[in-house]
């Protein structure tokens, strides 16, 4: 139900009235609206109940285990949120002069330095506003680098098939042609195929390490050598940075540019479309091309670096400098952790994943890469269950909701059939991991005796199983008042009739 459906003429809520705001008096009359705007007319109690009920329907990290692989859904410490909301931070105007913004500028400068240190890069720009923009920035800089050298023949970007799914799209957005590099059977990049693919047209390679297969790319130094020798650069997708934070650094592996998802690794709230933060770090070669503004320090004074300081910059990505509130949360998170705490993030993230993988294997589930040590996430394949019991990875995912766990990522990566990509993160206790294993075992037992029942899950959620095929074929995202509504849409949202 949307709040407009509670609306009744004449109702109002005192708590939601704005007082003390003067009406703007000097607008030309022909620009003033005649009809009143369509706003919901509800009492204070109705508004409170409506939004409280909505919040109770959330299936979120604050209420449930959320092992959504590749998304790093870890707990967001309340301190970050509270401190980022201090009046000195939220009331600062983005156009305030540097002399009035020294505290904010220093925080951003320190964050740049911390990210530099933890990734092993030479310089960091915080401005990209999301992971996708960070990727775009990285590839735009690689392009600018080759163009600045007059090297116009480098039109190809190599992307291993275990790379993060957005990488090929980013390369195409930046005007490159994508060449896919296959993975060998144990999950590493196929070195012979890579050697055959590089050449004078190679602009660079986009690599995720650990890869989306949940394993560390063991040949990374050899890969860096091959690509650099061919004249290309290496882009590190920071999607899985949580696995290595404080333990090893992309800069030491030979990467020229790194993007980081602060909303994942640095624990700011995410999901539902943002806001995010996707800073980039670069090695020496790409420094001149970093997007502005950045913060610099001279004799204890902090100031913005702009196009004047960096004439070769690829430019600006937003009106100011990214999502300042998210960057502040990440800065506070990094301060809370400290250098040693960062290392514990990676250690416990990988320990939790290894524990969960081992326990699931003991329960008879099949690991996609049984001979490899999981990093911060791992893949199980339910192809046996699908074949023998007729219960798919999607059925397991839906039934997990009834057991009080958010589903892992399903059917990604595409390389593994009937897969679940599971990322417990470092913030879960052993008891929660054990409950998850017990739920998986219980679902398989149910599948042996009552497969139809599992195929109809979930049963305890506010909305039952969606008909995702019909929803995709008849996409309808707009709510309309009953009198305007078209003929009732097919029963999307009701349980599928088996």
């Amino acid at each position: 139900m949307v709040i407009f459906e509670h609306s009744r003429a004449g109702r109002r809520s005192g708590a939601h009235r704005f007082d003390g705001l003067d009406a703007v008096g000097d607008l030309p009359p022909e620009l003033l609206r005649e009809a009143e705007p369509e706003l919901p007319r509800v009492s204070e109690l109705e508004a409170v109940r409506h939004y409280t009920r909505l919040s109770q329907k959330n299936f979120a990290i604050d209420t449930h285990f959320y092992p959504l692989g590749s998304c790093t859904m870890k707990y967001n410490p309340r301190a970050c949120n509270t401190l980022a909301g201090l009046p000195g931070i939220v009331d600062r105007h983005p156009l305030a002069p540097d002399s009035h913004s020294q505290g904010f500028l220093r925080s951003m400068f320190d964050l740049q330095e911390m990210l530099k240190s933890v990734t092993g890069m030479k310089e960091v720009s915080l401005t990209p506003m999301a992971g996708a923009q960070g990727e775009f920035t990285g590839m735009a800089m690689i392009r600018a680098y080759h163009v600045a050298r007059g090297d116009h023949e480098r039109t190809e970007v190599l992307v291993p098939d275990a790379a993060h799914g957005t990488n090929p799209a980013t390369a195409v957005m930046c005007g490159f042609k994508v060449k896919e590099i296959p993975t060998d059977e144990v999950g590493d990049v196929d070195i012979d195929k890579l050697k055959a693919a590089v050449g004078p047209h190679t602009a660079g390679i986009m690599l995720t390490n650990p890869s989306t297969l949940g394993v560390f790319e063991r040949h990374i130094e050899a890969i860096a050598g091959i690509v650099h020798e061919a004249g290309g650069l290496l882009y590190y997708d920071g999607a899985n940075l949580n696995a290595i934070l404080g333990r090893t650094r992309p800069g030491d592996m030979g990467f020229d540019v790194v993007h980081m998802n602060l909303h994942k690794t640095f624990s700011t709230p995410h999901g539902g479309g943002g806001p995010g933060a996707g800073p980039v770090g670069v090695g020496e070669r790409l420094r001149p091309f970093l997007p502005v503004p950045m913060v610099t320090e001279e004799d204890g004074e902090y100031r913005w670096l702009t196009e004047r300081d960096r004439p070769q910059s690829i430019g600006r990505l937003s009106a100011f400098m990214g999502n300042a509130g998210i960057l502040m949360r990440a800065y506070i998170y990094a301060l809370l952790l400290g250098r040693e705490g960062m290392e514990r993030v990676a250690m416990f993230a990988t320990l939790n994943a290894a524990y969960l993988a081992t326990r699931l294997r003991e329960e008879g589930f099949e690991l996609a890469y049984p001979d490899r040590r999981p990093t911060h996430e791992f893949i199980i394949t339910l192809r046996r269950e699908a074949k023998q019991l007729g219960v798919t990875a999607m059925d397991f995912a839906k039934r997990l909701l009834d057991y009080g766990h958010h589903a892992p990522t399903t059917y990604f990566p595409l390389l593994v059939p009937e897969c679940l990509l599971i990322e417990p993160t470092e913030t879960e206790s052993r008891e929660v991991l054990d409950e998850f294993v017990a739920a998986m075992a219980a679902i398989r037992k149910e599948s042996e005796t009552r497969a139809d029942y599992v195929r109809g899950a979930p049963y305890t959620t506010p909305v039952r199983r969606l008909d995702d095929v019909r929803a995709a074929r008849h996409l309808d995202l707009r709510w309309r008042p009953a009198e305007e509504a078209p003929a009732p849409a097919p029963e999307v949202g009701e349980a599928r009739q088996a």
Binding site: D468, V469, A472
Partner: protein, 131 residues
């Protein structure tokens, strides 16, 4: 086991080709391919007049699980595409070798047909994937 008609030719990337005579072929994706993708929700067709070489991307099929590129199994020029798939992508699921056809192509190198797999060879490819 999926349906693999004897009278068609196949590519290892799961496209089928039917020789219509006069140097024209009809092509689509195999029953095995539609089965692994699941219910299709969108088909991006090639353009009429587009010229194709073997292995060129010629469109996309998208299901609720995955999006997958279509690769041209032969070289030639696109004469006609199955516009009805815009409204009814499910035809590829229900009738992959009939109403679910994707394009008709005028061959530029007719001998390429001989390089494609026959039904037995493609059966081996599909079986290997199902294991």
């Amino acid at each position: 086991m999926s349906d693999i008609p004897k009278d068609l030719r196949y590519s290892p990337s799961h496209e089928w080709v039917r020789d219509e005579g006069n140097g024209v072929v009809t092509l689509g994706i195999t029953d095995h391919a539609q089965e692994s993708l699941g219910d299709l929700v969108f088909v991006e067709l090639p353009e009429v007049g587009q010229s194709l070489a073997v292995g060129d991307e010629m469109g996309v099929v998208e299901s609720v699980k995955a999006a997958s590129d279509l690769f041209s199994p032969i070289s030639g020029e696109v004469l006609e595409v199955n516009e009805t798939l815009g409204d009814t992508p499910e035809a590829v699921n229900s009738d992959p070798y009939g109403d679910g056809w994707i394009a008709k192509v005028k061959l530029s190198i007719p001998t390429e047909l001989d390089d494609l797999l026959d039904a037995d060879a493609y059966t081996a490819v599909a079986e290997e994937e199902e294991d």
